[in-house]
Symmetry: C2
Subunit: 303 residues, 2 copies
């Protein structure tokens, strides 16, 4: 795969650009800075949220909502709420007491550009914003759907999801994890929110839980493939291209998929996961093409 060029996927190019524009437009609308003592908070939130990032999670929500003919604007609203959770987690993870990063999405991290207190508050405000959006009638007219969207997001982001996974990651600095433990850690830290982004389309489409099995399988495979690709970028990537610091895991002596498997086997594993993800979509027609393109993109990227 190292010799293989980045596949130009027209569908992903086109849809990805559209999602990035629409996510930016929603954040711009939601974060109009007020003329009072909160101005700095809103400026920090705009700095963190607007004009950067792959917008993988909103793209996944849009792609899965295609399977159920969900209104696009609603899918983008839900996806942007999920992106708000992702942005909050990046702001907090970048803090000096956590990963202590200066660079994110090619810009200064929030605590560098503003200050630590503002960064803590900006993360907290994004956290609340996500739930405000999902619980709003503008996102879905059915209150049961809204309530389910909130419940599953809270589970994906809290102690049994993202926050729990981040704690495991911090604890891992004092012990060498094996492959099973790393997989579990990543399932919580990044996998749960990626799975939720896919599931959100099914929730909005009022699909019963048992009908979501194949989508969950897709999401789990894609989430893990993305994480392995992230480990590869950290292992051999270029900071200028990645838009964030690289080589951190090795410097911290942290076990990753790459340190445990070696780069070659890790890459093969990621490609196998992508193939499995696409296999889960076999009963769907071209309405699942965007999900397929995202799965392929998971490993064909340098940032």
């Amino acid at each position: 795969m190292a010799a293989e060029p980045l596949v130009a996927d027209d569908l992903l190019e086109r849809e990805g650009q559209q999602v990035r524009d629409r996510v930016d437009a929603l954040f711009d609308q939601w974060l109009a800075a007020p003329d009072d003592g909160r101005q700095r908070l809103f400026e920090a939130m705009r700095h963190a949220a607007i004009g950067g990032g792959k917008r993988l999670r909103p793209l996944l929500t849009l792609a899965s909502s295609r399977l159920f003919a969900i209104d696009e604007q609603r899918a983008i609203r839900a996806g942007t709420a999920i992106e708000a959770i992702h942005v909050y987690s990046l702001i907090h993870d970048d803090l000096p007491c956590m990963d202590d990063d200066d660079l994110r999405r090619g810009k200064a991290t929030v605590h560098k550009q503003f200050d630590e207190a503002t960064a803590v508050l900006a993360g907290d405000a994004f956290h609340a914003l996500a739930f405000e959006i999902l619980a709003s009638p503008d996102t879905h007219e059915d209150p049961f759907v809204r309530s389910e969207l909130v419940l599953e997001l809270a589970r994906a982001s809290g102690q049994d999801g993202m926050a729990g996974g981040q704690m495991m990651d911090l604890a891992a600095e004092e012990q060498q994890l094996d492959l099973t433990a790393i997989t579990r850690l990543q399932q919580l830290k990044t996998g749960a929110l990626i799975e939720y982004a896919v599931e959100a389309g099914a929730i909005m489409g009022r699909q019963p839980a048992d009908a979501r099995t194949s989508l969950r399988g897709y999401a789990r495979n894609v989430g893990l493939a993305f994480q392995i690709a992230d480990d590869l970028i950290d292992h051999e990537g270029d900071q200028a291209v990645a838009g964030k610091a690289v080589g951190k895991d090795a410097a911290a002596g942290k076990a990753t998929f790459v340190s445990l498997l070696g780069a070659e086997r890790a890459r093969a594993q990621a490609e196998l996961l992508v193939a499995q993800a696409i296999e889960h979509l076999q009963h769907h027609g071209e309405e699942a093409d965007l999900l397929r393109a995202i799965a392929r993109f998971a490993v064909q990227r340098d940032r």
Copy 2:
């Protein structure tokens, strides 16, 4: 009032103790520590949430839910979710980059007892937990009620509520605020969540928004009275009794109700607010007695 003894209010004593016990029991149940790398996170959450605090917000939710004959256990669940938001805000506000406090509810703050990263994550996990509880069918069988509970809590805690107010408070260190500005700051920083705690009972009772006007009036007055009483405790209180550092506002040169009005006028203002709060309940009978007792307690306390 300085000469007046703490009024022994049997109702408040009895109900307050019951709420504290039930809130502790729920947190104990929700925060059973798992046997994995998240153990430290759960220990930190238990340290922050169990066995301390006045539990004002759950008490307010229970008291307002009495007006609408809501099932008590459900009111306590919703109230404990609101307490989770309060606990998250205390953990984050105590961080070195914010108020830098070592003592909270008579115990070491989370970042002192554990570390800063764990404190950030524990706050984040409480934030998600609150929404998970409110969106759960165990809290209310009507998804519209669950969705409304979530929407209003998100508004009370986010950029236009608590997080926005905390930003204003940080910004206020560089400018002297007047009474209007302080009132607005406190309305966002602490008032919004206290109002929501009262409103939650009305939401669970499916009361239309216009029927909630008197309750909102009550809540706004009580919230402000509580804040003035807090300023008085900071101004003249005893750290050992308060269970947290006192004298901080004056040391920071911060404008407060006490610095702007003087202690005597501030106390008179708080008592006027309590009388107004009780006046808002005039059309209610003894089912509002707990709300009345809480209003009186707002100013008759030393911690």
